[in-house]
């Protein structure tokens, strides 16, 4: 498959809209991350792409051909799930070989393809073992290998690393882009974790209650979200927000702080301002950084960094900063923020460009 296109795909079940007019085009050899919280519609969207479910409205086009009503069996699709799904009574070798056997491949081809996939996924030493005797990571590698040998045009991965230990997840996540690059299929990868999307790279579609709020290169979606929902979905720790009013060249935050804002194209009026936790700093980072008063709620320390949960006026913010800052709850603090890091949204939540972009345009 070289392209998969969704045209206003909608899924309504039991009076509830699970997927709301999703349109997107996925290219061959691309990795596409579906990012959103539980119940945002990631799994449903994948099932629609696969043909496991029929859309209520809209079309699914594969290589220019309308495949909307076609059942999954007629499409060339592979799927990997959060649970490690393998045939428990078969060896790892037979597990990987199973799609080839179904397709009626000859013995030499099976041997070659299985060996290749096992090599790619570092399963060669375990080919004779049963899946249940392997670690979780190896079991999921087996499931991945089976999806790879199928040579499917579309490979769907539904939170494949969610049941793995943190470090195993990190290792497999680093390998996945390389594995994907070798195959040339369209990959769709669902996750709830923003960090995972960033580490995988590729493209990201952010989902919110069945709607795709933005679809583009992962880093672009992260840096220039089109609305506040996208920014929130794609932010871990959660993005800080505050209501503000723009008047001429100044921006007055609801917390009482006023800062310069060079955004000539932007009309005066109320805005919602967002900024990421790592852009708040406990000391002045640049000459134009603006000081703000805040009170410490609680501090979390990771060893190299500290997450400081802050109260600023009515707002609750998080500061992510290098080094260990063990501050007692209640401590009064000055934190610094550079205006260029602000993301600006109109009161309805739509982006009106980040401050950096606005300044550059000026």
């Amino acid at each position: 498959m070289s392209t998969l296109e969704l045209r206003s795909v909608t899924k309504v079940a039991g009076g509830e809209t699970h997927i709301d007019a999703v349109s997107m085009t996925l290219e061959a050899g691309s990795l596409n991350v579906l990012l959103g919280p539980t119940l945002a519609g990631k799994t449903t969207l994948m099932r629609l792409m696969a043909g496991l479910e029929k859309p209520t409205a809209g079309n699914v086009i594969a290589d220019g051909r309308d495949v909307t009503g076609e059942p999954v069996q007629k499409r060339n699709v592979a799927m990997v799930y959060q649970q490690f799904i393998n045939y428990p009574a078969m060896s790892v070798y037979e597990n990987i070989a199973s799609p080839l056997r179904v397709a009626g491949a000859d013995a030499a081809t099976i041997e070659r393809e299985v060996k290749k996939a096992a090599e790619l996924l570092r399963l060669t030493p375990y080919l004779d073992r049963r899946p249940l005797n392997l670690s979780g990571g190896q079991q999921q590698r087996t499931a991945l290998a089976r999806a790879m040998v199928k040579k499917a045009g579309l490979v769907l991965l539904d939170e494949p690393l969610a049941n793995l230990d943190y470090k195993l997840r990190e290792e497999l996540r680093a390998e996945l882009p390389r594995i994907f690059a070798e195959s040339g299929a369209i990959f769709v990868y669902a996750t709830t974790e923003p960090t995972e999307a960033l580490l995988l790279g590729g493209n990201t579609a952010t989902l919110d209650r069945g709607r795709v709020t933005q679809f583009g290169r992962t880093v672009d979606v992260f840096r220039a979200p089109v609305d506040i929902v996208t920014a929130q979905t794609f932010s871990d720790p959660p993005m800080n927000t505050v209501a503000a009013v723009k008047q001429g060249d100044r921006l007055a935050l609801n917390t009482g702080v006023s800062m310069p804002l060079r955004a000539p194209g932007l009309a005066d009026g109320p805005l919602i301002v967002g900024f990421r936790p790592h852009h708040l700093a406990p000391s002045q980072t640049a000459p134009d950084a603006v000081p703000m008063a805040a009170r410490v709620i609680v501090t979390e320390i990771t060893g190299s960094e500290s997450f400081v949960h802050l109260a600023a006026g009515e707002e609750r913010w998080t500061m992510l900063t290098h080094g260990v800052h063990d501050l007692d709850p209640g401590t009064e603090l000055t934190v610094w923020l550079e205006p260029r890091h602000l993301l600006l949204f109109d009161p309805s939540g739509r982006s009106v460009a980040s401050a950096a972009h606005a300044a550059r345009a000026a």
Binding site: P71, V72, Q73, K74, A78, M79, I85, P99, V102, R146, K150
Partner: protein, 287 residues
Amino acid sequence: MNKTWNNRAWFMVLPVLLIVALNAVIPLMTVVNYSVQETFGNNLFFFEGTKWFEEVLASERFHAALGRQIIFTMTILAIQIPLGVIIALAMPKSGVWASVCLVLMALPLLIPWNVVGAMWNIFALPDIGLLGYGLNWLGFSYNFTQEAGDAWFTIILMDVWHWTSLVVLLAYAGLQSIDNAYYQAARIDGASTWSVFRHIQLPKMKNVLIIAVLLRFMDSFMIYTEPFVLTGGGPGNSTTLLSIDLVKAALGEFNLGIAAAMSIIYFLMTLLVCWVFYTYTMKGDEA
């Protein structure tokens, strides 16, 4: 993961459809057919409409059999369901003894029904049977072939022996599906054994218990072989339950119309009770 799509699957289901048609639908239709006609032999039939139904519903003999049937079914449910749950709770959760218990429990279920009847008939005989002789030896006057009360005692005891195992096995399966974390959490929360039963085991067993009640209700409502072999419905008519009455009407008196109408009335009653019970218990689930 990859299923081949074709219509061959339908051929696989066909034998089942045929069997269901042969053993359920066709006999049922035959019975419906008999229930609205009168015959005097020679394969001559006359349409009678609802005459047999009216006759059956008005007959005192039917009321008496139905009354006995309801008492019998309620009694065995009231004994078997709690007893089954208690035994299931007492069984070991794992290990060799769990397997041994399961096999022992399954034994009564494997014995053919007429053999169960015959076994208990001999077992309960007052002169040579262990139960009958034993009771008399202990000073109880016991003779199930003469005394209605003794006959009832014996068929209920027999049914409990025969079928409690089914409830045990279902309840045991329900208990096994409870994650250990629930028990651990309850211990740490300081819950009493009763609380654990009331708030964890019973809610988790609820669905299998509903199935157990339905199965036992339907089976006991249609029970025939064992009491027939044991008491033949006697002494007098004291243990003539619905099915025995039905067979007496059909074969003993060759009253096919009456028997067919009775069959359909039982069938509808069983269906109705099951439906009401099921909807009611499942609705309680939603609240």
